[in-house]
């Protein structure tokens, strides 16, 4: 639907309201433009023309073009307030979140508190269910925005915001951080996958599992490196000592579609390229360049890929 694709009841309300305002705006625009063009055509100065009649004003007209816009705006105001409550209903008095989303420079932390699942940059939800999101920020301001699904919510460090989210149809929806948040604001993209409810349950069960740690080969060497090369100070992997939340949770990294908040598709080559030189790919990123050798990169990547 014009003006943008909508995939939730909330965004449908916004789009409908936008169209209403757009119609009013276009009508006013046409009146003004035609008025100006008509004058330009009809009242163009002719050679030898005497001075035109010196009209100083007209009270009824003034009252008219004050009152009519005012009435239109009262109508718009009523629609606005009604739509606000549909698009953004108040959270319950004692809210328990289905998801907790935390904005970080420049990635999204996504937590499912009931299932004990942590992931990053990619949200999965079931269709047709209204979920309550708790919105937080870890460092600077960010803004959580899925254009086809819900209103924008700024993420403010130290303050909590709430958002209702629901999706009509299964599919992948793209989103982004909308508040300028520093060097890599552009690559703080967000991806939401809506599943049919049973499919979603499968996904959640799989994410809730603690993967077995490898014991042989490159993967085992990678696990070792992960502890030694400080990765563990920033990244969590379930079933290991690493529980830090400075960087994205890597437990089920292999199941994610993208890397580094939408910058790269999650392929073996891209994962290696990222570990080798994160700053070349995402200048300014808070993931340090640890000057890993090719062999170390290979072992770490193999480890991360074998985890699910």
């Amino acid at each position: 639907m014009f003006p943008f694709d909508t995939a939730s009841p909330q965004s449908a309300v916004i789009a409908e309201l936008f169209n209403l305002i757009a119609v009013i705006a276009v009508v006013i625009f046409i009146i003004v433009t035609l008025g100006v063009l008509w004058s330009a055509w009809r009242y163009r100065h002719q050679d030898g023309q005497p001075e035109p009649r010196q009209i100083k004003g007209n009270l009824p007209l003034e009252i008219g073009w004050t009152l009519i816009p005012l009435l239109i705006l009262i109508f718009v105001a009523v629609r606005t307030v009604a739509a606000m409550d549909l698009v953004d209903p108040a959270p319950p008095v004692d809210p328990t979140p289905d998801l907790i989303i935390t904005g970080h420079q420049w990635w999204w932390e996504i937590e499912y508190p009931q299932a004990g699942v942590m992931t990053a940059n990619e949200i999965h939800i079931p269709t047709g269910q209204r979920l309550l999101l708790q919105i937080e920020a870890a460092d600077v301001l960010h803004s959580f925005w899925l254009p086809q699904l819900a209103r924008k919510v700024d993420m403010i460090p130290g303050q909590t915001r709430w958002l209702w989210l629901e999706v009509d149809e299964p599919g992948v929806y793209s989103g982004a951080c909308a508040e300028f948040c520093g060097a890599q604001h552009a690559w703080m993209r967000l991806r939401l996958t809506a599943h049919a409810p049973d499919e979603y349950e499968q996904w959640l069960t799989q994410q809730a599992q603690t993967p077995a740690q490898p014991t042989t080969g490159d993967a085992a060497a990678g696990a070792q490196l992960f502890q030694e090369r400080t990765c563990v100070n920033c990244h969590a992997i379930a079933g290991t000592a690493g529980q830090a939340r400075v960087g994205p949770d890597l437990t089920h990294l292999a199941t994610r579609a993208t890397l580094a908040a939408g910058l790269l598709t999650n392929t073996p080559e891209n994962l290696r390229a990222w570990l080798k030189a994160p700053h070349t790919l995402k200048p300014g990123t808070l993931m340090p360049d640890l000057h890993l050798t090719d062999a170390e990169v290979e072992q770490l990547a193999t480890y991360l890929e074998t985890l699910p």
Partner: protein, 605 residues
């Protein structure tokens, strides 16, 4: 061989501003006309810088995932583009026009405080240079023209750019506030006999209302800048949630300045349009009292709408509703203006000079910006469109399609008065059409980009978003067309200043007092001023009054002494500020300059 030059010099010898026109006479000048011209030249220079920045930004965005600029460079450039255009171009350019024309239009010899007037200008110039110096002092600011905390706090931004940003804007802010005081005083005290407040030319009226707005808004900004600076330098934590502060406090303070600022950049432009459309339609402004009164309504309301910039932060519902209603309300007095301008054209005898082309297309383009502005007052639409390219499109329709078009119109209208020569109409037509096409090509598509989900302030965007690459490319092409149009404009200024057709005193048959003196006016502005019976004094003149200046009254022609005190004082203030970002030694030099300047200031009478 013939000795005759190919291009003959103009036959009419033009009066000069001063006998010795050397550089020093400009630095010491306290003549509002020279200062006005310096304002316009300085802001034109900053306009070129801001324009080049915009071209670099658009070049980066021409293609998805482009590597033309690094993220940091992009962030520096968009911060500087916004800061430059707002603080160093649009606002002071309008002030520059007012500095030149307000005294002339009210029949005064100069501003009320000529030396303060010079001080305002030098603070702007030196402050602007201080801001740009940050490029050489470790990097320009990167937190946007709004510098939201916490991103602008030291923990997230250690570059000195942000210190330069707050100090430089503080310095130019002092100058702007002083200009506001000066305008109010000038209009209250120095009006020619017969010019009641209800007979003020609308440009003067709107500039006065605007000055009241400046006093409140810029004072607030300067106070907030101090808070930001001491927070960064001395760890004061006004805005730190964990220490009992609030990051939203900065947003409230900034927008309580920022929204009035929008009108500070628009009201004088409304004034220009209110002068130009009547003259070229050969009719008085339709509904003078309503156009004037709606300006006051806008001024009052503009202090009550700031949180419409903050609908997405999740303020309490009742706050959002209040600010939504106030923001909708402000559309009413704005609409009243548009309709009155249309009615002024209606039934006129319209001459489409370049000035009138810009002024009448202002009506159409500003209406687009105004209508998209109303859509932000509709809170759910704001939740969708805020922080996207839809806002970028909106505010350029207001500030470029609106204010800048009015400034171009005013330039074609008043250039003859300032220089004695007409701008070339042929180049002017090229300038107009290229600007019109380039402007709409650049910014119309940005509405759609925003609705399609493109956030603003991104240094690049993914290649796989359908339609984004094409629309961005179109926008960039438009920006290049605009660049060409600006080059033509500057070329027109240069050639017409040197050898444009002589204009005479009143080339457009205008009605306000600036047209009752020579072009350019003599140092003391007027020998005598005509009797004033309405807001169109020259229109009301009887043939006798017109030809022999019968009944014209003599005005003061006393010329105050030029002085270096204002320029020195401004330099001293900016040095003190500069030292705060670097070493106290520079501040000490600045203090010395201030002492010196004050001595000069108070010794001369």
């Amino acid at each position: 061989m013939s000795q005759i030059p190919l291009v003959p010099e103009s036959e009419i010898p033009l009066p000069r501003l001063r006998d010795d026109n050397g550089l020093l006479s400009w630095i010491a000048s306290i003549d509002h006309k020279q200062i006005g011209i310096m304002y316009l030249l300085a802001t034109l220079f900053f306009f070129a810088l801001g324009g080049i920045e915009a071209l670099l930004l658009r070049t980066q965005l021409a293609r998805p995932e482009s590597q033309f600029l690094s993220p940091d460079a992009y962030n520096e450039l968009f911060t500087m583009h916004g800061t430059t255009m707002i603080f160093l171009v649009v606002m002071p350019m309008l002030i520059g026009f007012a500095t030149y024309f307000v005294p002339l239009m009210i029949g005064a010899r100069d501003m009320l405080f000529p030396r303060v007037n010079a001080l305002s200008f030098w603070l702007l110039l030196f402050g602007g240079l201080l801001l740009y110096f940050s490029f050489f002092a470790g990097g320009a600011p990167t937190a946007g023209w709004f510098s939201y905390v916490p991103l602008s706090q030291r923990a997230y931004n250690t570059s000195p750019g942000l210190d330069y940003w707050s100090l430089a804007l503080f310095g130019t802010g002092i100058g702007t506030i002083l200009a506001g005081v000066n305008f109010i005083g000038t209009v209250l005290v120095l009006r020619a006999p017969g010019m009641k407040l209800t007979r003020l030319p609308l440009f003067v009226w709107m500039n006065s209302v605007n000055s009241v707005l400046i006093l409140g808004a810029l004072s607030l900004l300067n106070a907030s800048l101090i808070m930001l600076f001491v927070e960064r330098q001395f760890d004061m934590r006004f805005f730190d949630e964990a220490s009992g502060g609030d990051p939203l406090l900065w947003q409230h303070l900034f927008w309580a300045f920022g929204h009035p600022e929008v009108y500070i950049m628009v009201l004088p432009a409304f004034g220009m349009i209110s002068e130009i459309i009547p003259v070229f339609s050969r009719k008085p402004i339709f509904g003078y009292a309503f156009v004037a009164g709606s300006t006051v309504a806008i001024m009052v309301l503009s202090y009550l709408v700031w949180a419409h910039h903050m609908f997405a932060v999740g303020l309490p519902r009742i706050f959002n509703i209040f600010f939504a209603l106030a923001s909708m309300l402000i559309a009413v007095p704005t609409g009243v203006k548009i309709f009155n301008w249309m009615a002024t054209m209606w039934g006129g005898a319209i001459r489409f000079t370049t000035a009138m082309l810009f002024a009448s297309s202002f009506l159409i383009l500003f209406t687009i910006g105004g209508l998209s502005g109303v859509s932000f007052a509709v809170v759910p639409i704001d939740w969708q469109t805020t922080d996207t390219y839809y806002v970028v499109a909106h505010m350029h329709y207001v500030l470029f399609g609106g204010t800048l078009f009015a400034i171009f119109a005013a330039t074609y209208y008043w250039f003859p008065k300032m220089t004695g020569r007409l701008l070339s109409e042929r180049l002017g037509k090229w300038h107009f059409w290229l600007t019109f096409v380039g402007f709409n090509t650049t910014f119309m598509v940005q509405h759609f980009l925003g609705l399609m989900g493109m956030p603003r302030r991104v240094y690049t965007y993914p290649a796989d978003m359908p339609g984004w690459a094409l629309l961005n490319l179109i926008s960039t092409i438009g920006a290049y067309i605009l660049a060409v149009s600006v080059l033509i404009f500057v070329w027109n200024l240069v050639v017409s200043w040197r050898r444009g057709a002589a204009a005479g005193d009143n080339p457009w048959q205008g009605w306000t007092l600036e047209w009752a003196t020579s072009s350019p006016p003599p140092v003391h502005n007027f020998e005598r001023v005509p009797p004033i019976r309405s807001h169109r004094p020259l229109y009301d003149l009887t043939p006798a009054e017109r030809t022999n200046q019968a009944g014209w009254s003599a005005v003061s022609q006393e010329i105050p002494q030029p002085t270096y005190a204002p320029a020195t004082l401004a330099l001293g203030i900016i040095f003190v500020l500069w030292g705060l970002a670097t070493t106290w030694l520079i501040s000490a030099v600045g203090l010395g300059l201030i002492v010196l300047a004050l001595q000069l200031w108070f010794r001369q009478k």
